[in-house]
Amino acid sequence: MTPEELRELAEKRRAQLKQPRCRLNVCLAAGCQSCAGDSVFKAIKQQIEARKLDGVQVRGVGCLGLCAEGPLVLVEPSGLLYQRVKPEDAGELLDALEGAPLKRLECPTDVPFFRAQKKIVLENAGVIDPENLEDYLAAKGYEGLIRALTDMTPADVIAEVTTSGLRGRGGGGYPTGLKWSTVAKSKGAKKYVICNGDEGDPGAFMDRAVLESDPHRVIEGMIIAAYAVGAQHGYAYIRAEYPLAVKRMQNAIKQAQKAGLLGDGILGTSFSFNMEVRLGAGAFVCGEETALIASIEGKRGQPRPRPPFPAESGLWGYPTLINNVETFANIPPILRHGGAWYAAIGTEKSKGTKVFALAGRVKNTGLIEVPMGITLREIIFDIGGGIPDGKKFKAVQTGGPSGGCIPEQYLDMPVDYDSLARVGSIMGSGGMIVMDETSCMVDVAKFFMDFCKAESCGKCVPCRAGTDQMHGILTKICNGEATLDDLALLERLCDVVKNTSLCGLGQTAPNPVLSTLKYFRDEYLAHIVDKRCPAGVCKIKAPAEVHA
């Protein structure tokens, strides 16, 4: 297909979308599906057919954000949002299209949860049908690719990405433009582009939502990247625990291939690129780029020491570009609006927006996208609606097992890569777990250590044996059986595991322990010295009677 044909298709679809009087967008992302979103979709469809309602359409869409109140239904063009919809509400919903909104199910959208967000990556989530290429085209999809392939050289594309100031959204925050230019400069008979969709942080579902809601955006980002670095083949590595994301990505790849957006001579140019989905078998360490590469090669998913970095020697020894789902999803709008537009959003060193999965003890759990530099307080108390049940805020955990717990005193800190690092946490891929006074911080540290211990690949000694020992000590502390010597040993092991482990998993595994020790040491001491759990979470056994 040529760019003109593609634009014609987009125009046609836009006109089509205007036709119906109104449309009901039912969220069919994993969150809403888990509470019967698909039954709601079917019920509405049946009702429309039974009533022979002309000009009323129902569509399955991606994530609408407020997962806590799902299943969600968005009505267009009125913009009404309905929450906690049940299949039996379908009739009433359709009745309400003509008259007053259905108050019982109405979800107020004039609240900070919606107003304080800025959507770039998620601009199409909940708005387009993720299984329909034309829907994506109608929303200006593939415009960025057309611009890149027809107006720009690969060097221009890299310059645009560099100008945007985009940093890797997988957690490390490495400048994307710099990574791209390194791969572009690397010499190799072949080059590869890999999308890291192996999201495994507890409480995180940003990548899943993007893949489920707008898969073409990720594909477009990958094609642009491939053009910029000179790659011919790509892999979207997605964890098998995300069946819906896998299905939608595979479906989108097929559509893109059919439309000539993937394959030989893309958009009538001489540039060729194709891609496929690879399933991750559920190992957290496979998010680490060298382990991910080993996994794609069909080997055991274990990391190897770097250098050589994948940019120089990656998949099957060829130069390889690896970016996270959200990073690629940022590329199409950057190409559409220009790098300078993107760089104007966010803070000086952290540009653009960040998608967070807001979870834990907060009223509005769900998926949010906010400009960098917003404070934690705004995220948790305005967007998140604060702590439920009149409880007191205690800490927020960011960055998953590699991150740390941030206490109340830093709530007014801007959220950006450097500020988070300064208080002993990280941006990570964007999991954000809010904890209130009912959380025991030692128990939280134990939870993350249990995760790291179970997910360690076992290759290097400090990570394999060290995390197990640390978990043992944390268990002892939680059970009220530990001594101050155990605490000293725990701190010593934190130091060893952090500094001697082979890959990021081990190097960051002690972070939740270190940050809780830094800000909540009194809780550790209460368990060890007073044999009590201040939050009442840990079941400390009564001290055994001493027999003389």
Partner: protein, 237 residues
């Protein structure tokens, strides 16, 4: 090529290297001892045991000497108190991980782990022993594997794959549950890929892989064959 010779310093000593050589190779050439466990000349280095970590000036992270290439002007330190403390703790973690009671081990006095413990000054273990109950597989007519002694260095896996070409050995499980296995985790004696060459036994640094019929302290490992076999393999047209 004139640029292929580098100079660097290791522990304050100026040394030269050919481009592509690792810090470990250069150090050993110059009589500077860096402890290793998973490394074995002739096998692909994997940087897994972390014993050979060194400090390089200007690099915040510790680097494994076995896989880090020497570079012009590099200033390497191999024996700081910090490194020594880390090495000792890592050896302690290994001793606590499984069962390494030297007195009842066939490899007693011929064991690299034992040597290592002595070298890093480990006089006792400061972390709790885990005492897992792991099996012994003595189904092979000539050899036996005692998983209780395994340090997961992967030398057996690599020698079987890279030198013998059989790939009988591999890993299964992850983290602390990780284990070496033969074929699809079946008894060694029933392995259809094992050629019974015994290379794995002789590259094993501990008493994990042994020849049957040896009493304690008799099981001497013969590592000499490996550089020879590698040389012969590389010399093949």
């Amino acid at each position: 090529m004139s640029e292929s010779i580098l100079t660097l310093s290791i522990d304050g000593k100026d040394v030269s290297a050919v481009a592509g050589q690792t810090i470990l190779e250069v150090a050993r050439e110059n009589g500077i001892a860096i402890p290793t466990l998973c490394y074995l000349q002739g096998l692909t280095p994997v940087g897994a045991c972390r014993m050979c970590l060194v400090e390089v000036k200007g690099v915040p992270k510790l680097l494994p000497a076995c896989v880090t290439r020497a570079a012009e002007g590099m200033e390497v330190t191999t024996q700081t108190p910090r490194l020594q403390e880390y090495r000792r703790t890592i050896v302690e973690l290994l001793f606590a991980e499984r069962n390494h009671v030297c007195a009842v081990c066939v490899s007693n006095n011929h064991c690299e782990l034992q040597d290592l413990a002595r070298r890093v000054g480990m006089n006792h273990v400061r972390v709790p022993y885990r005492y897992p109950r792991l099996g012994v597989d003595a189904t092979h007519p000539r050899f036996a594997v005692d998983h209780n002694r395994c340090v997961l260095c992967g030398r057996c896996v690599r020698v079987c794959d890279e030198i013998e070409g059989a790939h009988t050995w591999d890993f299964m499980g992850r983290g602390i549950e990780c284990r070496v296995i033969t074929d699809m985790n079946q008894p060694w004696g029933s392995s259809e890929t094992c050629t019974s060459c015994g290379k794995c036994v002789h590259v094993c640094p501990t008493g994990t892989l042994t020849e049957k019929g040896r009493a304690a302290a008799e099981m001497k490992k013969r590592l000499q064959f490996l550089p020879y076999l590698t040389l012969m393999r590389e010399a093949r047209p």
